[in-house]
Amino acid sequence: MKILVTAKRVTDPNAKLVIDDDGSWIDDDVEYILNPFCENAVECALQLAADHDAETIAVGIGDEEVQRYIRQGALARGIDRGIHVEADEQELDSDLIAKILKALVEKESPDLVVLGKQAVDGDSNQVGQLLAEMLGWPQATFASDVKIEGDEVIVTREVDGGLEKLAVTLPAVITADLRLNDPRYASLAGIMKAKRKPLEELELDDLDLDGEEPKVRVVKLHEPTGRSAGVFVADVDELILKLTTEARVL
């Protein structure tokens, strides 16, 4: 069995992002972490691999820095090998990422692809779904429990009304929710081993995707407009007046 898992780096949610002067992108000099949902996906792959004797492969897409997150976020935790697809992160959207993953699936023929349900930077929540569609594979998103039984994956999903249980046939695409598991820490031995694990470097060209354009472009980034300070009102009448005439919500 073979499991492909994603390892995306995202800007640290606690970091202060600085937007470039021309509003085209964020200043790169910021802390990154492995996307927390990808950590769940990695943990899921490791647990399944331990139970079903699978080979595990972590994929990262972006500039060279991405390799550090593949190694330390995935390989150091126990994933067997990595693939880094070199790409300009400003020229990527969910669609193109799904196409890249599809090309890798065709190259590697995994039985299962596990992704984070979304990345906490763009919060798009699209790649897993797009990939399943492109591959024509069944999908189970927002997984909070995953079990392989025969040639099916039994996935519990967190949906608005409660829990939903799905059985999808392999090969399949799964996206991980936070409550799926508690990601392990990389052990020191894992960190040392990660250095020696194979990490294949590919270009879009190698996947016949050279010249492929994203469908969505970032036109401009700007800070949220600052909120004006609150005011104290003397009584309920004044409050209603302000809500009606100034806030215009009544």
Partner: protein
């Protein structure tokens, strides 16, 4: 990569420990300080991460990393819990690294896997009730009896000497006088729980700080130690001791760095949030002085420690000037920075909630344990006497 994280592995190690500290170490620190108790479950978790044998060769269950890696782990652990970090240090530097560097292969194979995993807890016995700084004045003796050695005496202030109020730690490196005076008088022995005549004298209670580590008096009453438990050769333990003191003092200095860093972080945050006289505290010049000087001193100490670590080969000997120097500087620096943090927080700094009062109590130990500041001044001046031109 930089001085503090020279390779990707060092950076990954720091991030892993920091993540672990945030989730597992910070939340338990106040409780174990108040209860004056050692968190053995947490210690075993640290073992599962592979940190207990950080400097030990992979053959014996370690990670085979260097002095810089050891410094990173101590800085990160100590930022949250210096007491727990001291127990970690006594185990992984004073016992594990000591045996790994100074022991023979039979001893390494026999003991290191269990101490690297955390199955057994170790410590090192140098100090005595009547002799601390004057270490060659120790009275514990070992006398040869056939192939064996008979140990008699008592050791004092032994970190990890007990794991609870009544229970001994598992295994110790014990220095004892094997005849004569001066540099050839000491030998080093492995003493294990369960050896007849080896017992817990008392667990020392009421410590000012580092209360999450246990400290004990250990008693040796005609303890019979087999020849295979002699580490190195008879009369040659002073060199082993001096060599291990170098990494001990370096990592103790790293503990002070952790204390200073957390104190600075607390100060920065608090002074930005707390309002007085209609503005944040950090608008006042006196507060700015506390913050800026603390940060600068922390960074100065940090550069000195990491630079010394980079040049400290674990099997080397003769780095005392700087291994004493980093501890001399950082111990007092850490104490001062924690003190300023309390000052910046006013009344809130004086209570447990903001952690700095604990860091302040813990910081004081580093001016005493592993060599007093006066001992460092004495050693360094002796080392420096011929070096009238410093390059």
């Amino acid at each position: 990569m930089d001085l503090f994280n020279p390779t990707e592995e060092h950076l990954a190690l720091r991030e892993m420990v920091r993540d672990f500290v945030e989730k597992e170490v910070d939340p338990q620190a106040e409780h174990h300080d108040r209860e004056e108790s050692f968190n053995i479950e947490l210690f075993r978790k640290v073992g599962a991460l592979g940190l207990l044998g950080i400097t030990v060769d992979e053959r014996w269950g370690g990670a085979g990393m260097d002095a810089t890696a050891a410094v990173i782990v101590h800085e990160e652990l100590s930022a949250a819990d210096p007491g727990f970090c001291l127990a970690f240090l006594a185990h992984s530097m004073l016992f594990v690294n000591n045996l790994s560097v100074n022991g023979n292969d039979e001893q390494r194979a026999r003991l290191l896997p269990d101490v690297c995993s955390g199955k057994k807890i170790g410590g090192m016995c140098m100090s005595e009730p009547g002799a601390g700084t004057d270490v060659l004045g120790m009275r514990t003796t070992a006398v040869q009896d056939g192939e064996d050695w008979i140990l008699n005496g008592a050791k004092m202030w032994i970190t990890n000497g007990a794991v609870s109020d009544t229970e001994l730690g598992d295994v110790f490196l014990v220095y004892a006088n094997t005849g004569g005076t001066g540099g050839k008088s000491l030998s080093l022995f492995l003493v294990e729980k369960g050896m007849a005549g080896f017992r817990l004298g008392q667990k020392i209670k009421g410590k000012l700080g580092v209360r999450a580590s246990t400290t004990a008096e250990l008693v040796f009453d005609n303890v019979r130690v087999p020849a295979c438990n002699v580490v190195g050769t008879q009369g040659n333990a002073v060199r082993s001791m001096m060599r291990n003191l170098e990494i001990e003092r370096l990592t103790l200095a790293a503990m002070s760095l952790g204390i200073a860093r957390r104190s600075v972080e607390v100060m920065i945050r608090y002074a930005n949030e707390r309002q007085a006289f209609g503005q944040p505290l950090n608008r006042f010049g006196q507060i700015q002085r506390h913050i800026a000087e603390s940060y600068a001193e922390y960074m100065a100490g940090r550069c000195y420690v990491y630079n010394t670590a980079q040049n400290l080969a674990l099997d080397s000997f003769g780095n005392r000037t700087d291994s004493d120097g980093v501890k001399l500087y950082c111990s007092t620096m850490g104490k001062n920075v924690a003190d300023r943090a309390i000052q910046v927080l006013g009344g809130y700094g004086y209570v447990a909630e903001y952690q700095v009062e604990r860091l302040w109590r813990d910081a004081k130990l580093l001016e005493i344990g592993g060599g007093t500041n006066e001992a460092h001044q004495k050693n360094m001046t002796r080392d420096l006497v011929g070096r009238t031109i410093l390059r």
